[in-house]
Every structure is written in structure tokens, then in C-alpha cells.
Symmetry: C4
Subunit: 353 residues, 4 copies
Amino acid sequence: MGFAFTNLLELEDLARAKVPRPSFDYIAGGAEDEVSLRRNREAFTKWALRPRVLVDVSRRDTSTSVLGQRVSMPILVAPTAFHGLVHPEGEVATARGAAAAGTVMVVSAIATKAVAGPRWFQLYVWRDREVTAQLVKRAARAGYGAICLTVDTPLLGRREKDERNAFTLPPGLSIANVRPAGLDGVPASERGSAFAKYVAELLDPAVTWKDIAWLRSLTSLPIVLKGIMTAEDATLAVEHDVDGIIVSNHGGRQLDSTVGTLDALPDIVAAVQGRVEVFMDGGVRRGTDVLKALALGAKAVLIGRSALWGLALGGADGVRRVLEHLRGELELAMALTGRAALAQVDRSLVQRV
Amino acid sequence: MGFAFTNLLELEDLARAKVPRPSFDYIAGGAEDEVSLRRNREAFTKWALRPRVLVDVSRRDTSTSVLGQRVSMPILVAPTAFHGLVHPEGEVATARGAAAAGTVMVVSAIATKAVAGPRWFQLYVWRDREVTAQLVKRAARAGYGAICLTVDTPLLGRREKDERNAFTLPPGLSIANVRPAGLDGVPASERGSAFAKYVAELLDPAVTWKDIAWLRSLTSLPIVLKGIMTAEDATLAVEHDVDGIIVSNHGGRQLDSTVGTLDALPDIVAAVQGRVEVFMDGGVRRGTDVLKALALGAKAVLIGRSALWGLALGGADGVRRVLEHLRGELELAMALTGRAALAQVDRSLVQRV
Amino acid sequence: MGFAFTNLLELEDLARAKVPRPSFDYIAGGAEDEVSLRRNREAFTKWALRPRVLVDVSRRDTSTSVLGQRVSMPILVAPTAFHGLVHPEGEVATARGAAAAGTVMVVSAIATKAVAGPRWFQLYVWRDREVTAQLVKRAARAGYGAICLTVDTPLLGRREKDERNAFTLPPGLSIANVRPAGLDGVPASERGSAFAKYVAELLDPAVTWKDIAWLRSLTSLPIVLKGIMTAEDATLAVEHDVDGIIVSNHGGRQLDSTVGTLDALPDIVAAVQGRVEVFMDGGVRRGTDVLKALALGAKAVLIGRSALWGLALGGADGVRRVLEHLRGELELAMALTGRAALAQVDRSLVQRV
Amino acid sequence: MGFAFTNLLELEDLARAKVPRPSFDYIAGGAEDEVSLRRNREAFTKWALRPRVLVDVSRRDTSTSVLGQRVSMPILVAPTAFHGLVHPEGEVATARGAAAAGTVMVVSAIATKAVAGPRWFQLYVWRDREVTAQLVKRAARAGYGAICLTVDTPLLGRREKDERNAFTLPPGLSIANVRPAGLDGVPASERGSAFAKYVAELLDPAVTWKDIAWLRSLTSLPIVLKGIMTAEDATLAVEHDVDGIIVSNHGGRQLDSTVGTLDALPDIVAAVQGRVEVFMDGGVRRGTDVLKALALGAKAVLIGRSALWGLALGGADGVRRVLEHLRGELELAMALTGRAALAQVDRSLVQRV
């Protein structure tokens, strides 16, 4: 069975004991004072569930579809960098765990391994646009189900633990996707985060709405924008014909002092008016968290750190167990709120406290 | 005199020293992060009392009636399972204590002993409906004053301490009421709560509003629904001709992340418009708590854990002392707010803070 | 100089080291969970000061009048019982300190000593109304400036520390005012507060608004009601022709779970519409506290525990120093908010935070 | 490189280890309960940033102008007294650091040294108006860019640590600007703050709006009022033809219990309607803080304690590094909110939380 856990909140402490400190800090940490990071969790405490009773919940169905793809639960694996930091099999194992749980993994552009399975491709835009275009085209050929463009990272947020650790990739790890272009190495740093320097030097801080058309010209895959936090940008996204939006503050790792993502969700859902699918990530640890996000209009949520802790603690099976545990909590929360299927989850399920 | 206490809040610590840890955890714990559990207490801090002065309070009367039955105080004993966990006489002693204090005990369907005295019968619905029907009929024959159907437990909430303790009934204890049907045993569990498995396997997760008519066909006793948390369900309850409602989140043991029950009460009282009696439980520890619930429209409150701690610490007399202490605090709070009788308690007595 | 202190908040700790524990507990403690006690302090943190600048504050005048009597500051000494608990000279020293500071002491009916100086007489109503009437008449003859009837104590609040300490008066102390009637002794208690029993047995829980006329028939002194917490009772007070109101929750010692007195003040001031003088006590420790109360409509405030700590630490001079320190803080706060005189203090000086 | 730091919040602890305690306390402390001091920081947590995405932020410009003067960043050095307390070069080093960072230092009237560089002159009004007039005229001759009159200090706030420390200037330090008038010494105190006595005796508590005309008659330099906390006074300031306002509560060192300055800013900006430049200080520690103040209408912010800690830890270069670090954080925050230039910063960038 491997590691024992009762809920996802316990995983961080379990992982801390196993993962080398700089890698743990890189994954667990947030930007600056970690206000955005904490608010992601706190936002869930500001919405209470309104349980309905005397509903037949003898059969409970957590399955749904995301961008037309059937999944066993409204929970995807969020794109996170460098899975090789916590497990030798890296992203390969994560993908296997997600597939075993019947859901989609969003694979980071800066993964340490190439992977198979049901998956979307997260995209950063390198200053070298040709390299970027090749990534998109290769993803389509490799069977990825969507391109998920991260829009909140023109520069890397100041993650102060990484600054102090002079965080870089350990020997043997590199960014597999851009190896052909020779951009896969993250050179060590004497002072400050080496990865922050990589981003500042090689990624493009001048990506704008015009580039959505460019991206569209490269692929017929659905395009999802990750990192939208305002109704204004959600409206622009719809106008630029994207297929989905992920409400996200990058796990509290980019701009500090935003609201929690759950608190950003309702305005965005209202602005989008159902024209594209809206997802969210940030602080999801409980089945009741998932239910709240769905009640406020999310089609599904994504989990980042929890999946990584599962990977660190148990490889592919650890990832699967984390996902299935969360699915189980969601199923129980559905039963206890009188919802047998996700279609019955609506705004009346939550109230502000 | 037995154990010494100054208020009911002290009882939990006193009991912790006496009750075996798995039993203590089972009683004291709540579901998941225990948010609902904490909010039950916190809700009382969000309402302040507005004392009136220069009223003759030389005589103070805490008596009232519940479903037509006269009681010495607007405080009943809530249905809780397995009193045998804390005292060898189990529910028999609790019932004797409640009777001595002049009030009603609601006896759990999953009691460890059969009891006498002024009492209501709490009902779970077994998948075996015939077993369930027999329970109801037997309760009527045995002189119970009401059937109190718990509606918030299609599955058992995840009480994580019980999961870790692999909680089950100790040797010698079983569910007396369903012994004739051979359903009284809770088999031990290798991993996880044995009781959660019992509920999942043997209780019926498909009970719906239609079953209220079925229940009505079995008995002429008043029917009370326990576990209503929304105005919508309160309205449905009235429409289905029940006689009472208990606003309850099962002591924070079922769905986590609800509001505190006192905060759910006003909307429900408004929806019910006096057509049925409304009760509440959850976090009541002080006479001022009782007064606040009454001011917000409750006919009476129920106490669960406090009664069990009284039982653990002093048997029947412990239960009586706990109830009488709380009645005394209520009487003092009435005097200090200028209310000589419960009929003078109204909404003007409280304000939101 | 005696004891050193920088502000009144330090006094409680200084006094704790000097006063016997049961006496300290009696003075410092509040009822039940001490929610009312804490809220008195917290209420001050919910109002912020709005400083005005470029006003000539080279001369600052803190003097005012209360019920027609000139005082050096809008700060009186609140009636508190049993000053003999903390200093052998008891109320005599307190009165001397208040006089030296140029302000009024409200002397408790249950003082341990008879006193001189500018003072009002706080009245409890004994069941023996003749004893009570004599107290009132004697006060008038002795030159007291007002009768201050406490209306929030039909029974004594449960002060749990006193319950545990079985609090009673130490040998040699008694209630001087009712010695002629033989009611001055507080018999020791085996269990619970002896003083609470004294109140329950000898004071009258049936005092009503009708008794204001009775009290008026006994004396031509101004009558002040102490313990009003609602606009409704303030209106009744005006209608019953009293001369003043003290907004008070008895220092958090009677009903627990009221709002803080500063939060009760605005509604009462609005109801009274200037027809009688409104005072307040509860939690005043800072010059800025005094200023806030005045901005919200109080004519003056009263301090209780702080004066007792001054008495405990330095006798009459300790009381004087406490009062003068607080007056100094008030004067500085006036300067820093651009108010040279109390007449310039109005509602625009505060804002809710 | 000298001292290492990751953010400005770390500086206080670093400085505490280096600066003599009475000097550290004088700088770090606030008035009375330090409520105003804490609220300055807390106010920033009550506003969240609303990041916009897909904006070209490849070039980011933090430069702006203040009173017509070009600066590299919207961050000035606030006037603070006695830099000689933490570094032998005192204000001379601070000015050099500010100049190296490309911004303005506001030099205190009670500086310990005369300085050069881009700077404004902070003015207190001595009772000896001739001395004061000479200060103003000398500032104009010496090339100061503005006169910044502090209006919140008719008396010194009670900084209780200074009271306990009997704070005074150490041997060798004095108030350079008033040496010609023989007012430069701060005599030691037996009890209480010597500096508070200096202010009470020598500074003028009777400065009023009429004196603005007097000040205008002395100089053609722009006049800025520092210490405005209300819309009423901001309106008066505009009517008295000043050129700028600094929203400030004197770093929480004067009146305790005001709101945080960021919370006072919006009303003042609304009242001023762009007629004069509005600045703010108080609790600025992060680039995101600066951005919030600008979004709410400030033209620039000022930092006080952080600059002093930089001076204490690294002299002129320490001051420069502190300023440049904060400018860097601001630049990153601009990038992550989709603002390439300060002109794009507006009210839509923030929301209340």
C-alpha cells in the first residue's frame, strides 16, 4: 500500500520528510509573503455548503467531460514543472497515475520527461518563437488533447525560498521538450533563483492577445488560457475564440496579493456566460472544495502540489491514490448534499459566510 | 457529589481523562476538518444578547412544552449512539437522568440498551425496510412520544479520527434494537471506521421525501425530521406534514463546511412560519446559548456531547446534573435579560455582532 | 512616587502581584466566558479616530460638568464594591484620590467604609425597602450629589472564579452602609460565591420601572440609572424622568454575551436625543478611549478596575495618579485630533473600522 | 555587498541586532498601543491586486515625476529624525544613497547633519518663528526642491518605549539646523522622553491654517503638508494653495488609533480631485504595496524606517540597495499585473477584500 494518509492535507508534511529541501521549497512555496498562496485555501472557508436531504443518493456519479473528453471525476492534474525533482520516473509516472484514475494530466512545457496518456499540453512562449511553434506542432502530433497557454508568467514571481536556495535543477534533470533547441539546461546560479533567470532570459514577456491568433494558426487543438483572474480578461478570452479558461494565480507563485482563486471565479463565470468552459486551480484539498468550485460554475478543478506529493511518496500509484481519494471525498460530499450527479450541482449549493 | 464542574465547557476535558481514547474520539470528533463542528460553537458568538432591565424577575419559569409534552426546560437530550461506550448502564442511565431533570431524551435507534422514561425514538432507515418498520411499531408500543427521523446520513461522514482508530464497538456492546434481526453487530475493521462500513452496508441511502408517507403509514406518533439545514427542505418538511424539525448538522459529524446551526435557524424559522415546531442542536453549552436559540425561533434545543460527558463522569446523576446546571444558567440569563418566562423571549432579545 | 506605570493597561499585572488572589479574581473577573468583559475593550478597536490638523491647541481644556457639577475631566470613578479588599483605607482613600484629581467618585452602596468628597451614591435595592429608603435619605443628608441606581443586577452574574474561590469578604470587612440594619455581613460559603448568595437572598429581584417613582418620592437628588444597554430602556428611562443614564454591562460581570458598551452607546444616544445626560463605563483604559466615547455622545466615562488597581498600588495617591494619567492622555489625544476643548468633540471625530 | 536580504521586512530584525536598543526603539516604535503602526501594514492586506494578462511588459518603466521633478521610481525617502543614531555619516549618507537610486530624500528639520542631493525640506515650526523663517529661507538658498510642513505634531505622541528609555540624543548628536539659534541640544531626562519635552517646550502647538500664508510669504518653493488624514483637511489644504499633501499618520508615532494610511487615501484623493499631488507613507514594505497606493491615487509613496535600516546596515549603499530592491519589486509587480508604465496604473488594479 505504500504511504498512509487520511486526507490530502497530510501529504505536504509526509513529503517534506522525503523530498530534498530545495526541491520541496520550490514546490511548496509561493511568491513573496505567500498571501496569494494562503488565500487560495482561505477562500474555501468563506463559502459554506447548503446540504439538501431526502434525495436518493444510492448511486453517485462523479464523471463529467472536459473539452469533450470524458473523465471519471471533475479533477485534473495541473501542469507543474520538473516532476523529476521528486521521483526518478518524473512526469511519466504522474501521467500513468492520472490515466489509472481516469482523468487528464496537463503536462508542463518544462517537464523533465516526455509522457503518454490522456493529456493536455501546457505551453510557455519562448522568445524563440520557432522553438515554441515546434512544441505546439509536436504536441498535436503526439496526441495531446488541448494546448493550455499559461498567461500569468511574463516574468517569474519572486519565490523567496528559491532565491535563498539559489534554486536550480539538480544534475541529470533538464527541460526535455526544448532539448532539440539546446534550451533544456538551467545553469546554476551563484545568488538567487537560477530558474527565475532562465525565465527572464529565454521566455517571452511580450506575449499579447494578438498571439492567440498566431497560436491558433499553429494548431487545431482546443486552446485554454491558464492564469485568468479578472472578468475583463475572461471576456477578452472569449472574444479571442479560446476554448477554455483556467482561473488560476499559478498556485500563489506569481503575483502575490491577489484574491484566492475561488473568490475570483464567480465574476469570471458571470462574464463568460457559458460560452467557454471555465476551470480553476489553487488550494483544492478536499472533496467539499471541489464541490464548491463546481457550485460556483467551474467545469472541473486541477490539483498541483497534491499530485506531486503523491508522486513523491508513491510514484504512479501515489498519484492515482491521491486522485481517487479526492474523488471519494467528492462523492461523499455529493451524497451528503443530496446530489447524485454533477449536473445537480448549482449555485444554490453554496452560501457566503 | 461526584465530579465537580463550573460549566459545561469543562466537561470535555474531564471526560477525556476517563473515557478510552477511541470512544472519546468517536464522541468528541467531527467530520474532516471539523469546520462544521467549530462553527456550531462560533455561531453563538455572532449573536449578542440585548438585556432589558427593571422587569420583575423574582419568579422565573423555564418550563415549556415540546410536541405537546410538558418539560421543565427547553433542553432535550439529543440522540447519540452507543452510550455503552462511556458507562456500563448506557442509555438506561441517560434516560433516568433526563427524567430526573424533567425533560425528554431522544433515544438513538442504535442505542446499546433499551430504555424507559419520557422519550422520543430516533430512527435510521435500514435497507431492510421490514426491520425498520418493526422498530417504528415497537417504539409506539413502548410508549415513545415521537419518531425522530435522521435525514442527514445517507452515508456516514468521514470522521477521520475514527478512520485512524479503525473505530468499532468494543466487545460486549451491540445495537440492541436490531438484535432480533441479527443486525446488531459491528464487525471489527482492519482499516478505517468499522461503523462507517456498517452504515454504508446496512442503512439505506435511498430514503426520499416519498418515504415520509410510508413512515406516516406505520405510526400515528408525531414525526420529527432531524438534520434540516435549509429553508427549502424546511418548507418541504411542512408540506409533507411532519410535526417538527430539528435544525442540525449532526454535531458537525456528517457534512463538513456547513454553517453553524444557529446561523441556519433564522431562515428556517422564517420559512416554517410557525406551522411546525422547530428545534435545534449543535454546540449548545451555555444558558445564554439556549436563550439565543429560543430568541431566534427554536422551541427547544438538544444537547448531545454534554449529556454523554455527564453520563461518563457520573452516570444517571451526572446526566441530571448537567441538565440542571444548564437549566440554572438559562434561568439566570432570563433574569438578567428581563424575561421571567419563555413566552417573553423574542427576536428583540438578540442582535447580530 | 510609589509604583511606576506607563499606561493603565499595565496596572492589572502590577496589582495581581500585590492583591490576594480571591480578591484580585473578584475584581478582575467577569461573568461566565468573559465575552462581555472582552468586548468592552474590543469595542474601542472598532472605532478609529479622525485627526484634524492646523488647529491651535496650545491651550487644552479637559474640564466639563456632570449633572451640573464641574469636574476637571470627563472621567469619574465608577461604583465598585469592597475597596477594603485591596487597601486598608478602602473607599476613604479612593474618595480622597478622586477629589485630589478634581472629579467625582460614585460610591457603592456596598462600600466597606463611609466616605467624604464630591460623590454620588450608587444604590442597590434591598428586599427590605425601609433599609433601602434610609440609605437614600442618608445619602442626601450626607451631601451626595446624585443617586445612581444599578438596574442590571436582579441576581448576581455567575463569576466563575468567585464560584471556584467560594468568594466572600475576608474577616474585618463588611458592608458599612447596612450595618445599622444588621445586613452588613457576608457569611462564608462552603461552595460557590458567598456574595452571590447574599445578593440572591437580600437584594430585591422585583424592582421595576414603577419603583423609579418610589425612589423619586424619597429624594430630590438627581437620579441616574446604571446598566442600560438598549435604546428601548433608554427611552423608558427618559419617560420616567431620570436625570442620567450610564450605559454599562457592569464591567462584563452580569450578563455575559452582550455587545461592548461603546457599541451600545450610539443607539442609546440617538434615542435619548439630549434629554438626559448619558455616561458610559466598561473597558476605558486610554485617553483615546475617552475621546471615542465622548465623540459618540457620552457626557463622561467612568473607570472601575483601573481606579481599584491605583488604590491597591498606591492608596489615595495611586487613585489620583491613575486619574491624572488618563486625563493627560485625553489631553494629548485632544491636541493630536485638533480639539482644544471638549465642546469641539463631535461624531465626525470617529469612524467605524 | 555587505548585508544580505531578500525583502524589506527582514531589515528590522537585522537592524535590531546592530542598533543600540534605545535608538532602535525610537525608530521602530509607535505611539501608545501601536494600533496606528500595525494598521498601516494591515491596510495593505485589505486591498488585493487584480492582475491583467497578455500585455507586452518587455519594457517596464517605473520612473515618474514628483512636484515636477523626475525620479527613477515613485518612492521617496520620508523625513525621519536623527539619522546619526544609526550611522556616523547620518543624513549625509542617506542623501547619497537616495541620489544614487535616482530619487528624492525629504530631509528632516531635525536632522543631525546638513546634506546635499535632490531633496525636500521637512519643516517643524519652532515657537521662535524667526528661527523657523530662517530655516525656510536657508532651505531655498541651499537648493531644496520643496518645503514639507509636518502638521500632525503640535505635541509629540506618547511613544511609550521612549518614555521608559528616557530617550534622548546620545553625546555628540544634535539638531544641526537650529545650532545657530542655540536650540540644537536635547537635554537628558530623568524620567520620560527627553525629546517629547523638547517638542513640548520649543515647537509651536498653535500653528494653524493661517500660517500657511505666512509660510508662503517666506518662500516660492512648493509647499507640501505632511500628516493629512481626512478629506476635510485635504480640501482645506487645496483651498490654502499648497502644492501637495502627504497622507500620513507619522508612521503610527503620533495619534494612536487612526486608520491605516492606505485606508485614508481614497477619500482624500476623491476630495482633492487631482488639484494637487497626493503622496502617502506608512507601512510600505513591498512593491505590491507601492502599486496599491498608486492604484488608489497616490503620486508616490515615502519609506521611512526601511531607509533607516538600510542606512544602519550599509550606510549610503545600504539606503541605495533598499530603494533599488523596492523599485525592483515594483517593476515585477507591474509586469505581473500587465502594466508597463505607471500611467497604466489605475483604480481597476485593486479591489477591496
